[in-house]
């Protein structure tokens, strides 16, 4: 949750630079809010209206954000790395991934206190 600088890149050689640039964009942050259902309010790709999305864990330990309970749906985004300050996200839809590349969220403001993110839902759990 919170305010994030948001950047994206396609080439791995641009990753470090994109992280710096994303941090510089905290003046126009992307805001992630908690949802009433225990998830997060975020935008899926190409959707101007934010949605109530769930954190979902797959049996092999991967973490996704998306609609519904099934982890790894085509519209989901996967959190491929997260260290409390920087979150790396990739879209599962290859068309979307090809267009937006790897998304980098850099937390804005001072280093965060220990924040408990919404627990990812495992497949089959009640919504």
């Amino acid at each position: 949750m919170g305010r994030w600088g948001l950047g994206s890149y396609h080439r791995d050689t641009d990753r470090d630079r994109t992280i710096r640039e994303a941090r510089a964009q905290c003046g126009n942050p992307y805001v992630i809010k908690p949802s009433p259902t225990g998830g997060v309010i975020m935008n899926l790709a190409d959707e101007s209206e934010a949605s109530d999305l769930q954190l979902k864990a797959s049996p092999d330990g991967r973490t996704f954000i998306g609609r519904g309970n099934a982890a790894g749906e085509i519209t989901d985004m996967e959190i491929s790395a997260y260290d409390g300050k920087t979150m790396t996200v990739q879209w599962l839809d290859p068309d979307v991934a090809g267009r937006y590349g790897t998304m980098i969220y850099v937390r804005c403001g001072p280093a965060s206190r220990a924040v408990s993110p919404a627990q990812p839902k495992t497949e089959g759990s009640a919504g």
Binding site: G7, D14, N28, R99, Y100
Partner: protein
């Protein structure tokens, strides 16, 4: 992606820099206007970050392809002259000739006219969408590193100390139109050609049509 046309009054608000009115060049009066240049209809098209157009999409309409033309001017060879109403950019060659490129003109490109110089050049420039675009498309990254599919295209020529640029595009269908975002855009093949021809320090003249 949706596309719609609407008529623009071209009055973009008191908060923007005032536009100086310049006379239309003699060459512009002599050049027949193509149908989609007749009005100030603005092509409202959202930027498509990451979209890489097919090669055949870069084929420009007749008259908008890069070509040498008769162009009478007192400006020195190597000068860039942008005529926003015509949607053309001219690179003066001397001997009454110019290399003419078809362009799309964003709202920023209609806000001003005058004389600047190319102060910087960049290959595969980064893109930072403006706040008003982020408001419409909040899912957009606030920074996108340069590369194919980047809305800034293959090259950028930065003008003076302004935010204005001559740049490429990943939407070649916008060439010839007034568009809602950006400044002066060329297809990537043309902006790469122009980039190779002009050094930093090149004089750039932007001309807007006289308004009654």
């Amino acid at each position: 992606m949706w596309v719609r046309l609407r008529t623009s009054t071209t009055n973009f608000g008191a908060g923007l820099a005032a536009c100086a009115i310049a006379l239309v060049s003699a060459s512009a009066l002599a050049t027949p206007l193509l149908p989609f240049q007749q009005t100030t209809e603005e092509l409202e098209i959202d930027e498509q970050p990451g979209y890489v157009p097919p090669e055949n999409a870069e084929q420009l309409p007749v008259g908008f392809e890069r070509q040498f033309v008769f162009f009478r001017t007192t400006e020195a060879p190597g000068t860039i002259i942008v005529n926003t109403t015509e949607r053309f950019l001219y690179l003066v060659q001397g001997n009454n000739r110019a290399l003419r490129y078809g362009i799309g003109v964003g709202r920023d490109g209609f806000q001003w006219s005058g004389l600047v110089t190319v102060t910087r050049k960049e290959e595969w420039p980064d893109w930072r969408p403006p706040p008003e675009m982020i408001k419409r498309q909040p899912y957009l990254p606030r920074f996108m590193a340069g590369g194919p599919g980047n809305p800034m295209g293959a090259r950028a020529l930065y003008l003076g100390t302004t935010v204005y640029r001559i740049h490429g595009t990943n939407q070649p269908q916008t060439i010839g139109y007034a568009i809602s975002s950006g400044c002066f855009r060329l297809v990537n093949d043309d902006v790469t050609d122009l980039y190779q021809r002009v050094p930093v320090g090149t004089k750039v003249i932007v001309r807007q049509a006289a308004k009654l």
